[in-house]
């Protein structure tokens, strides 16, 4: 047995080096994902880590007895801190003010502990090797470990295991080495029982983390919302999450805010009334998208309207907004109204087969952030719409922010015009979203608007609407290409413009 002690200790050097570098890379990658600017993140993290190793090495001189026991103890600490580091960072990201402080504290703690280990192991081995052999062997294994880590991390670990599992796996390796050493030096160490127990505890925690990492992941996702989640569901099309605090209720689809109860009335009043109030004697109204029933609520203010057809892809959304008490109170139980028919279908396909004509059509689709949704803003779609519009009918379309995404906004306007529509662009301030854009479209070039809005409205009145059609100097109309199925320019515009904002 004695013969392989040296080998075992050198193997520990190798594991320590590999694991140490992996933790550093995990921290760097995570920081790049969460904070952006990977160059800064990686270089500061590598710097802090190396410096901390220096601190660890310095402090190693204060350890004088029971070196192997200390080594094992430190190894267990590295295992636990390193193994849990990525989970801790994910969990805390949205909930602490100074995320960076925690990040660098974790990195430097790991660095200090790893920095302690190499000097300790050199001293453990000092009697077993000549000095020149010792230095050569230790550093050889140290650097090989580093190479292995840096190659395996991007090629295998991140793609196949992900960051959480990688951390747990390498934590397990650290803990495994510690446990192995415990058995090897069974007789030489005084508090062996205690050490073994901590090793096993660490292993249990890490294995649990490894197995549960999927759940942890979905939990960290739910942590993304600042408020309490009162409802969440996964439909075939999207993740529906509803949050609530003292002041407001918010709906998120795939993590994107759809509305906040604090200011959604601004959005929906602006969406519905300028058009619908201008139609004399509207009978049939079509709503495409808008499964939350909030636009329908506004339409129901017009007693002349006999029938409202709501076409929304997602049955989960229309169902919760019909049956969930607090949501139904938001839309005034609009979806339960006798006038409303809810159809869960793909709007494009539904429109192709529709033969009915509508006096007013509200289009409230998600923003054109991908090629699938981009189709719903194409000239082909608007030509279909034309066929479903009554002779004096009006269409209104939500068209993203003309301030943040002017090319996207004006692309919707220009695409409508290319299909022979006359357009009336306007915009409103909705605090949760910013400056938001809408377009009305009709066949006739003469707009006969009725701006005598009901006094019951909270936001819209004649004076306000007069301002809404004014586009100030910094957001003038622009020429864009027409969005077609075979060019999908709108998706390109949209990606470009919103990417600038988020990066």
């Amino acid at each position: 047995m004695r013969i392989s002690v040296r080998a075992l200790l050198l193997f520990s050097v190798f594991v320590v080096a590999t694991c140490g570098l992996v933790y550093e890379l995990v921290a760097g990658t995570l920081a790049s994902y969460l904070l952006g600017d990977s160059v800064t993140q990686f270089s500061t993290i590598i710097g802090v880590y190396l410096f901390s190793m220096g601190i660890g090495s310095y402090f190693s001189k204060f350890f004088n007895r029971n070196l192997i026991a200390w080594f094992i103890q430190i190894e267990v600490l590295v295992a636990v801190i390193g193994g849990l580091s990525s989970t801790i960072l994910f969990l805390l990201f949205n909930h602490v003010v100074s995320f960076r402080i925690i990040l660098y504290m974790l990195v430097s703690t790991t660095g200090i502990l790893v920095g302690l280990e190499i000097p300790l192991i050199m001293r453990i081995l000092e009697d077993r090797y000549e000095f020149k052999d010792l230095v050569s062997k230790i550093f050889t294994f140290d650097y090989i470990g580093a190479l292995l880590a840096s190659v395996v991390f991007p090629l295998l670990l991140v793609p196949y295991l992900g960051l959480l599992r990688t951390s747990y796996l390498f934590g397990l390796m650290n803990a495994g080495v510690a446990l192995l050493l415990c058995f090897f030096f069974n007789k030489e160490i005084r508090w062996i029982g205690y050490l073994k127990t901590t090793c096993i505890l660490a292993i249990v925690v890490l294995v649990a983390g490894f197995i549960l990492s999927d759940r942890i992941m979905s939990f960290t996702e739910s942590m993304a919302y600042t408020d309490k989640i009162v409802y969440s569901a996964q439909s075939p099309y999207q993740r529906v999450v509803l949050t609530k605090n003292d002041r407001e209720t918010k709906l998120f689809l795939n993590g994107n805010l759809q509305f906040s109860s604090a200011d959604e009335y601004r959005y929906h009043e602006a969406l519905v009334h300028p058009g619908l109030n201008s139609i004399s004697n509207p009978k049939n109204v079509l709503v495409l998208g808008g499964g939350d029933g909030l636009a329908v609520r506004e339409v129901l203010r017009y007693p002349d309207v006999k029938k409202i057809t709501l076409v929304d892809l997602d049955p989960i959304v229309t169902e919760i907004f019909r049956s969930h008490a607090s949501l139904a109170s938001l839309n005034g139980k609009s979806l339960a109204s006798d006038k409303v028919e809810v159809i869960n279908a793909d709007a494009f396909q539904w429109l192709r087969t529709n033969t009915q004509q509508y006096d007013f059509v509200i289009i409230d689709f998600p923003d054109p952030s991908n090629y699938a949704i981009g189709k719903l803003y194409s000239n082909v779609f608007y030509n279909l719409l034309n066929a479903s519009l009554a002779p004096d009918g009006i269409v209104v379309i939500q068209a993203t922010s003309p301030f943040v995404a002017p090319n996207s906004y004006w692309c919707v306007v220009n695409t409508l015009q290319s299909c022979g529509f006359n357009t009336l662009p306007y915009h409103a301030h909705v605090p949760s979203f910013g400056d938001w854009g809408f377009v009305m479209a009709q066949r006739s070039p003469n707009w006969k608007l009725n701006t005598n809005y009901s006094n019951d409205l909270r936001f819209l009145d004649g004076k306000t609407f007069a301002q809404m059609v004014v586009f100030p100097k910094d957001m003038p109309s622009r020429q864009t290409e027409v969005n077609k199925l075979n060019n999908q320019v709108l998706v390109h515009y949209f990606e470009e413009e919103w990417a600038q904002l988020v990066n």
Partner: protein, 545 residues
Amino acid sequence: MKKPGRRNFIFKSITALGGLAATGGSIASCTTSSKKAITGKLLGPSFKAGHLLRKGISIIPTQVEETDVVIVGGGVSGLAAARWLKQNSDKEILLLELEQETGGNAAAGKNEQTSYPWGAHYLPLPNNSFTALLDFLHECKVITGYNEAKLPVYNEYYLCFDPEERLYINNYWQEGLVPRWGVPQKDQQQISRFQELMDELKDAKGSDRKYAFDIPLANSSADTQYRDLDKLTMLEWLLQHELTSEYLHWYVDYCCRDDFGSSLENTSAWAGIHYFASRKAEAANSEPHRVLTWPEGNNWLVQCLRETCADSIRTNAMVYNVTEVNGKIAVDFMDLRTQKYKRLLAEKCIMATPQFVNQRLLNNIPAISAQRKYERFNYVPWLVANITLKDVPQGKGFGLCWDNVIYGSKSLGYVYANHQQVALFPERKTITFYYPLADDKPAVARGKAYSSGYDYWQEFVLHELEKAHPTIREQVEALDTWVWGHGMICPVPGFIWGEEKNTSATPYADKLYFAHSDLSGISVFEEAFYQGISAAQHVLNITVA
């Protein structure tokens, strides 16, 4: 409404990462041990009939019918001929098709979600000079009208939706098929130089003032400066122009395999350049280089062709002998449904069949069989697979496109059949995988293709797809394969402007005419359509412009 805030954006990327982590473990654990059993069928054109024909049938049918014109073969050329005759004459015609359906290699299938192609699946925007084709497209509302500049306005449901193409290269999906991602500067320069040369050749005209490369290719210039390119291979031409980049070679090789099923070393330089330089379309509402496509591929066009002549078509009719009897053409066939033998006597006959079939059918006309050198016609076998997936795995880089190609793969990658549907989120996705067996001699490759069973091909297809989608196996719900023994005529050097093609296309005794894309030398819809129409014009004694 709906703005992606910064945090949401970030968390999207993390959940994506988490998704990777979540599936990562299972990949590692199930690549070797627990392969899911995937079921499917091996399909293909009637082998049995082909076998019967090779053995030869010597029965002379006693049941005889008469008609004006018989068309043998219901592929695109046969249908185009039938349509033309219906529209431009009152001749009684009969079209005999061996299979249950007409359409030749523009076959298609269907599942609950979508139709999908089993062969030819797109039509590049046609040259505006090819008015016969434009008229047909207008007739079936692919062209909805013409603008003030007289440019065709294409139906936007049929123009390929964006995004059109992506290439998996260096572990990344890049947009477009021309290799760019991680491609060294000097290779990119060669690729640009190649593209400039092709642009020059696109406009080039010969001494007869015809385009050097045109469609139909018969309209191309006879100038030897260009036609002599047919004597070189595409590889030799590239090397002559000091175009040595392996990325460029892969790309041109891919294009040759895509259009002709043949490799760089085996394709005539004239044909190879024709791929890049012959298309000069102009459209009112599309860029010139785009394509028309349908979920069922060119079978959609086949159905339009068929509509004009549906009542003259007899399917399951295996023609086994065509001969001259008392100044008429006798076409003997077996009705595969009733197993009965019949003879059609016609004034004129169009053989809209490939030459490897004519080789079996025309033995009893010595004047024909003595002249022909059928062995000069090489046909590449193809393997096509349709795979229904729960979802196409999201790889790194650009999202799912219509055409998805994997760099370095011998296959042509896959085409997304649901792409032309307007529905946003199909419940199941179907992709069509194409693989020309271009590496062996056609006869050897054909033997291999036929002797390999379904299991072999299933594994082959999955293996190729796994190069870009390591987890695709878990998504597969059904995988069917189809072997085309004679998928495409191969334009080997010297074939397109060689003697044999002309000899085989020469009508016999003003009674028997020939129409098939193998007589053009390249297997594309435009050529088949042109062959059919010009044979029909010959039948009516109209001089072809």
